[in-house]
Symmetry: C2
Subunit: 342 residues, 2 copies
C-alpha cells in the first residue's frame, strides 16, 4: 500500500533519525493542535509497519479558560487510536512568579519537565515533538526581527538527545491537507490568532507578504537556512564548552576564566563561551548580546577593569583572570558605574 | 576642536582597526557615491591629526553610458581635497563573456584586482572601502530572501587582511547628514533606483516596511547579526581549511578526501570543507547548497556511490575515499544518473 504523502515523509524522517528502533516506545507530545494531531496519526499508521509503540502526553498549561477542553479532545482522540495518553497539569503562572522570565519560556520548561517524567515512566526511547518547516521559518524571522544575535538565530535540529522532530522537513500546508484527507479534527489555539503576538504577525502578515513580493518559495529556503544555522550553533556550543573546560573554574559564588585564553579564542567561540559562563554564574535572564560584547571587550583590554551585569552581577578583570560573580556591596555612588580599576 | 559625528565615528573605527598607523598610506576605493565621498572627506579631516596619508582609486566599470562622468567628478573632488587619484578602466562585460558568472561578481573581481594593483604601486598599508551598516543589513536580508545557506549569510567583517571598512558601524543616514552639513555633492548611481534589482527593492521597499511594521531599529539589529555571522563564518572557514589540510590531497585532475574523516566531522565544518574542496576542484560556479548536502550524504552513506555535480564534474565514493573531479566520459544513457555503484 502506498502511504499518504505526510506519512511517507514521517517514515523517511524516522529512518534518517534512526529512532524509534523496532520494539521501542516513542512518546508524542500532543497539544491537540493540527501539527501534533497529524504526527500522532502518522505515527499510528507507521507503528505496525516499523514495529514500534506509540504513547502520548498532554500538558494542560492552564493559561486560558477552557484549556481543559483540549485535554478532553486529546483523551477522545487517543482512545479512538488506541494510544495511551498521560495528561498533566502545570501552574505556569506560579513558576513565572517564582523564577521570573517570560510566560512562554516557563511554559516550555514545565512542558519538557513533564515530558521527561512521562518518558521515564513509559520507558520511551524518544520524545517526538511536532514542529514543522513553517515553525523553523517563522522562528528565524522572529529572531531576526527582534535583533537576536547569531546564537539566537540557530533553528531547531531534527534531533537533540532523545527529542526528535519528524515533521521538521514538512510544511503546515501538508499537515492540514493530511488532516482534511483523513477527516481528522484538531483544536485551534485561540492565541494563534492574536495579532498582538509578534509570532502571529510573522505567520499571518510577514511571511505571506514576503512570499508574494519577493520569493514564492521563501519558507523552505528559510527553514533550510535555520537548519544549517542550528548545526553551526551546536558546533560553536561544543567548541565553547571545550574552551570553558580548559579555562574556567568555580571560585566561591562566581566563576573565574583565564583572561588571555579567552581574549585569544576566536570571537565566534569566545562569545558562546561567555554566554555559557554567564549561564553557569547566575543564569541568562536579562543578558543581552551587548553584555556579551562588553565582557569580550573587557577580556581583550590591555588594562584591568570591571563592569556591571544584569542580575546584580559584575565581571571583573584583574591579575590575569576574568571573574563573573555577584556584585560586591559597592561604596555609595558607584552602583551603576562602568568604572575602570586603577 | 570637536569632530563632526561621522568623522568621530571613523576616527574610533580606525583606532579599533589599528590601521593605518602613523606615516602609512591608506587607499580609498572611491566610486563617487555618497558613502565613499563621505569616507574620503572623513579620512582627509583625520589625516593630519592621526598622521597618515590618503590616496584614492576609481575604477570606471563602463557598464552604462556616462560612467566616465563619475571619473571626472572624482578627479575634481580629489583635486580640491589634495588627494592623489588613480583612475582605471575595466571591461566587465568582456570578463563575463570570458569567465561566466554574474555581472556584479565580475565587476567586483575587476575592482579588487585594480585596487590591489594601485595598493602595490602606492605602497598603501590598507584599502578602505565604504560599506555602511545599511549595506550589512541589506545584504543579510538579500541572502535570506534568495535562500542562501548559512555560509552565504555571513556579513562583511570590519577588516579582512588589508581591506578595512571604517563605515561599517555607521548608517547611510549619518553619511548623508554629513555630506549635507559639509556641503559636499555626490553622484547617484542610476541603477540604485532600478526596482528590477532585488537589492533595490530590499532597500527601498522591504526595509522601510519592516521598520514601520515590526521594529523601528531593525537596521542596526540586522547589521549586528550580520557581523556576528561573519565572525562565525570566518571561524568555520578556518576549521574547514584545517580539516582539508589533514584529509585532502590532489589526485590528478581532481581532489581526494578521506571519507571517514569527512563523515565524522561536525556537519557545520564538513559543509564548509566540501564547499572549499569544490572551489579547489573546478570552482564554485553553479554550486548550490543542495550539491553540498548531496556530497555530505554520499560521504556519510554506508555503501559506495557517485553523483554528478555542476561544471561536468562528479563526486565518487569508493575504497574509503571521496573523489571530486571531472566526470569521465560516461557509457550512453548514464549521463544524468544519480546511480549507486554496485
Amino acid at each position: 500500500v502506498r502511504l499518504p504523502t505526510l506519512v511517507a515523509g514521517v517514515d523517511r524522517a524516522l529512518t534518517a533519525l534512526g529512532t524509534p528502533a523496532e520494539g521501542q516506545v516513542v512518546l508524542l507530545a500532543l497539544s491537540g493542535g493540527a501539527d501534533s494531531v497529524a504526527l500522532l496519526d502518522a505515527l499510528c499508521l507507521l507503528r505496525r509497519r516499523r514495529g514500534f509503540h506509540v504513547t502520548a502526553a498532554h500538558l494542560d498549561h492552564r493559561l486560558r479558560p477552557g484549556s481543559g477542553d483540549d485535554a478532553a479532545f486529546c483523551r477522545a482522540l487517543c482512545e479512538r487510536l488506541g494510544v495511551r495518553l498521560q495528561v498533566g497539569e502545570a501552574d505556569v503562572t506560579a513558576r513565572v512568579r517564582r523564577e521570573g522570565g517570560g510566560i512562554e519560556q516557563a511554559a516550555r520548561r514545565e512542558r519538557y519537565a513533564f515530558l521527561r517524567r512521562v518518558q521515564r515512566e513509559a520507558g520511551a526511547a524518544a520524545i517526538a515533538v511536532a514542529h514543522t518547516r513553517d515553525d523553523q521559518a517563522e522562528t528565524l524571522l522572529l529572531h531576526l526581527l527582534r535583533g537576536s544575535g547569531a546564537t539566537g538565530l540557530g533553528g531547531m535540529r531534527p534531533r537533540v538527545g532523545s527529542v526528535v522532530r519528524p515533521l521538521l522537513g514538512l510544511s503546515r500546508q501538508e499537515v492540514v491537507a493530511h488532516l482534511r484527507e483523513r477527516g481528522l479534527a484538531w483544536r485551534e489555539d485561540p492565541t494563534n490568532a492574536d495579532p498582538g503576538l509578534l509570532r502571529n504577525r510573522v505567520r499571518h502578515e510577514l511571511l505571506p507578504y514576503l512570499e508574494a513580493r519577493f520569493n514564492p518559495r521563501l519558507r523552505s529556503g528559510l527553514a533550510r537556512t535555520a537548519g544549517l544555522l542550528a548545526d553551526e550553533a551546536a558546533y560553536l556550543r561544543a567548541q565553547a564548552d571545550a574552551l570553558l573546560d580548559r579555562i574556567a573554574r568555580p571560585d566561591g559564588d562566581g566563576l573565574v576564566l583565564e583572561r588571555s585564553e579567552l581574549a585569544h579564542a576566536p570571537a565566534a567561540v569566545a562569545r558562546v563561551a561567555i554566554r555559557q559562563a554567564l549561564a553557569r554564574a547566575g543564569g541568562l535572564a536579562r543578558v543581552r548580546a551587548v553584555h556579551v560584547e562588553r565582557v569580550l571587550a573587557l577580556a581583550g583590554a590591555s588594562t584591568p577593569g570591571r563592569l556591571p551585569l544584569p542580575g546584580g552581577r559584575e565581571v571583573r578583570y584583574r591579575r590575569g583572570v576574568v571573574r563573573l560573580g555577584p556584585r560586591p556591596a559597592a561604596p555609595a555612588g558607584n552602583e551603576s558605574g562602568l568604572g575602570r580599576e586603577t
